[in-house]
Symmetry: C2
Subunit: 337 residues, 2 copies
Amino acid sequence: MTIKDIARESGYAVGTVSRVINNNPNVSDAARARIMEVIERYNFQPNSNAKHLKQQGSHGVAMIVKGTSNLLLASILERAQALCDEAGYPSSIYYIDEDDNEVSRARQICREHKPNGILFFGSDTHNFEGDLSELDIPCLLMTNMAADSRAANLSSVTVDDSGAASRMIDYLYAKGHRTIGLIGGVLRCSHPSGARLAGCLSSFTRLGLPFEAARQYAATRYTLEGGYRGMEQLLKSCPGLTAVFAYSDIMAVGAIRALRDHGLRVPEDVSVVGFDGLELTEYLSPRLTTIRQPVDRLAERGVNILIHCIEQNPGAVHEIVPFEFLERDSVRDLTQS
Amino acid sequence: MTIKDIARESGYAVGTVSRVINNNPNVSDAARARIMEVIERYNFQPNSNAKHLKQQGSHGVAMIVKGTSNLLLASILERAQALCDEAGYPSSIYYIDEDDNEVSRARQICREHKPNGILFFGSDTHNFEGDLSELDIPCLLMTNMAADSRAANLSSVTVDDSGAASRMIDYLYAKGHRTIGLIGGVLRCSHPSGARLAGCLSSFTRLGLPFEAARQYAATRYTLEGGYRGMEQLLKSCPGLTAVFAYSDIMAVGAIRALRDHGLRVPEDVSVVGFDGLELTEYLSPRLTTIRQPVDRLAERGVNILIHCIEQNPGAVHEIVPFEFLERDSVRDLTQS
DNA sequence: CGCGCAATGTCTTTGATGGTCATAGGCAGC
DNA sequence: GCTGCCTATGACCATCAAAGACATTGCGCG
């Protein structure tokens, strides 16, 4: 089935069929109807390779994803894919390894598939050593701020990491907690961790709480095991700890397991809060107090900004979307006792 | 950068460059070395659109996935992607909605991208109403047996669902449980649910336990909420229940939440077991007794069988891989008390 | 000298697009 | 009724990047 077959079958010329497919106005309604009928009858779809070859690219969005098993990313990704499709930008997903370099992969994808824009997913270990600006197509980091903003083509959409972290510390303080441990990412390569730490620090300072990173900050990976190990580290380094703020819900689950394995109850002995707002956290015991990242909003803003950059090329845009605080049962109120 | 530029730059003709790229032996070592040098210098990658246009298809594998947030699928998918890439079959992922029809989507993908094979992911709601055999390329269902095996091009790889379910019932019986509830998928559209139910029934019969589906089987979706609702249903319909077998770990988490919300303890009042063997289950309290689906093995067999079908066209292959039983802390031993 | 073979160059093909140009038909104006 | 113009359409061709069929070159050897 090619455009030629449609032409023969409908009795029109190839050019006219092409005009119909591409919504060129110079076609009579009769011809359009007749050709559309044939196209639909055969369920014809123009060969995308030929089309993209001629059009010098796929007119689509590449999504480069680090970390398949990250539930938050998965749901943002799904939503973003749907939005791209709706907007007429077919999307392709490329999963990459934790230790792959996204820039070289992006370069390769650009040479091979020539997308019109790239969306990067992967919160904790983005590693932009190469220079994205040489790609000269719009790029956008999802849930990850561009660490260095030299790149004029690199936009970002993140939740208000710093505000959320600050809010969380204030909340723990209000509940009477004074010695709070943090479990986050390795700061060097993780922007969200940096922003959240900044938010925590601003609260600590404002509230007059001392903070010693070496004792109170466990740097690890955003995984169950990372949360577990981070918690073990804090138990050693931070005596008198009454609350722990894990930078992801999954880490919080790991941390809770570690506490229980050390004979401590949550929240009676140690309170634990998370970040992300996964549906799962509502089903755990205790239900986890956490920050919800607005998945749909993040996806929607990310896709819209990227497409806007593709079509208008306005330079980099950095957007921060609001968080939602979910108070549940994993924090003990020390002021009551 | 095109093959022409490489030709000009290296002083050879495009044909020779093409031969070098495609490992055609009719090239002198000198020419090969010279051309490779230029290719590497410019980091050249042939345009995939032109290549696939000429080659009448992408020589790749399409992966059609239903359900982004399914952790088990996500890990199989990641592994399968890596394996395809290694085997020289570039893979593209297409996420589809829960209520999309996979066959019509598959048809569309075939027309548009002409893959050499299709891998279907999505355990509980596969809905093959159309006829896949008309696609006339090899297809394979991952973790889902082809319900009707008319289709000569439709292979499958599943864990030993029935054996695993049977084993689980035997285990619960050995621990003294006699009234066991099941939470599974809607049987009509879910093959794994059917096979697992068959396994359960064979054990029930062998052990002389009565089973009334209407009272003991809650049909729902493979989600947290599904598990929750399924459990609530069982609490009403099945008095005297001492154990619940949820057909996925995620459902088990939902079921545990429901039990607790009804004032019941796990495993003291009701035992709960799951299926899948997610890493998460090791971190929950209680640690969940479950069946591990061998993710790497499933991915590896699925990809190998599909590629074998593509290259040799041997007809449909149905493979069942062994499960692993993970005994942990979510089952009470009633024989001790 | 001419045959054979390996190495290499040339040209066509792939499916769709879009441009140019020709043309047919309709319609308005004179 | 003829002209001129406009629209719809057909016909044709180049283009895109690569692949591969086919043609050609050049060398060694009998």
